[in-house]
């Protein structure tokens, strides 16, 4: 179901839990589907011994992909017109992520109304792992 512009106001929020206790296997799944086989995401030995990180960590694009799910659940299928993010902290196996979209504005051009959203995804410590924006057509 698409959103109705007339029902929305600046400051409205929509939140979802994106993942609880992120598993390494999901990183393998994402590597296989996306084609990004960077060992930093799936190869614990390389990542700890060569790259010197405490463990493998999630593809930024996995966090963006899961956040996209929150957005499409909110705005409806095929409604997004823009989605952009900055990755601010790494996401690790075991992390639980929550994501929130906040209405930052509404604009109407001709027959089309667009809702602008601020998007923020945080881990269980409340640290922002990804932040950005999205825009979507509403009714």
């Amino acid at each position: 179901m698409a959103l109705k512009g007339s029902d929305l106001k600046v400051g409205d929020t929509y939140s979802e839990c994106l993942v609880e206790d992120l598993k390494r296997t999901q990183l393998v799944q994402y590597a296989g589907a996306s084609g990004d086989y960077n060992p930093l995401h799936t190869d614990e030995i390389f990542t700890t011994q060569v790259a010197k990180y405490p463990s493998v960590f999630a593809h930024g694009m996995l966090t963006m992909g899961m956040t996209g799910r929150m957005l499409t659940n909110y705005v409806g299928d095929g409604r997004l017109t823009k989605f952009g993010v900055r990755f601010t902290n790494q996401v690790w196996p075991g992390d639980t992520l929550n994501s929130t979209a906040t209405v930052s504005g509404l604009e109407t051009e001709g027959d089309t109304t667009i809702v602008n959203l601020d998007v923020e995804t945080t881990n269980a410590d409340g640290k922002v792992v990804m932040s950005g924006y999205a825009a979507a057509r509403v009714d």
């Binding site: 990004d36 790259a51 990180y53 694009m61 963006m64 996209g68 989605f83 990755f87």
Partner: protein
Amino acid sequence: MAVDRFPVEASHIMMFARSIGDANEIYYSDDYAKGTEPGKIIAPPTFAQSSAQFDPDYFLRPKVGEDWFGSGGSPTGVKPKKEKSGGGGGGGGGLHAEQHFEYHRHISPGDVLTATNGPGKTWEKESKRAGKLVFSETVTEYRDQNGELVITARGVGVRTERPVEQ
């Protein structure tokens, strides 16, 4: 990434949706999708990134007959390069700093896309957590089988001087 031919396929969309934990039936079922506003299966918003699968030279995929820098019998299959900057924190060509998509229309199975890269900026920044950061931007235009622009993507990668402090 530049790609000559990126065929959008239903099974790839299904696997991609599974990998991001998205159970929305519009990514799995033709019958369900017919009853939705788009009227057919569409790809999730970040799916275009999986065009990497169709880039023959994509450097983050092991290739037949070539060394791979991930672990096997030893922690890496490639001798580390002693570069002064770059790669230190990334190990595999740096980290992803930003990603932006603009959707002109949503893509579906049956679309056959091309991806071309335009010029992008590069810049540097000092950071406390990872030393010198070198950012590079790539703007990618995805066009469909009719030459119509469907997605404009802008990615920013960052090479760190050393691993990001936790």
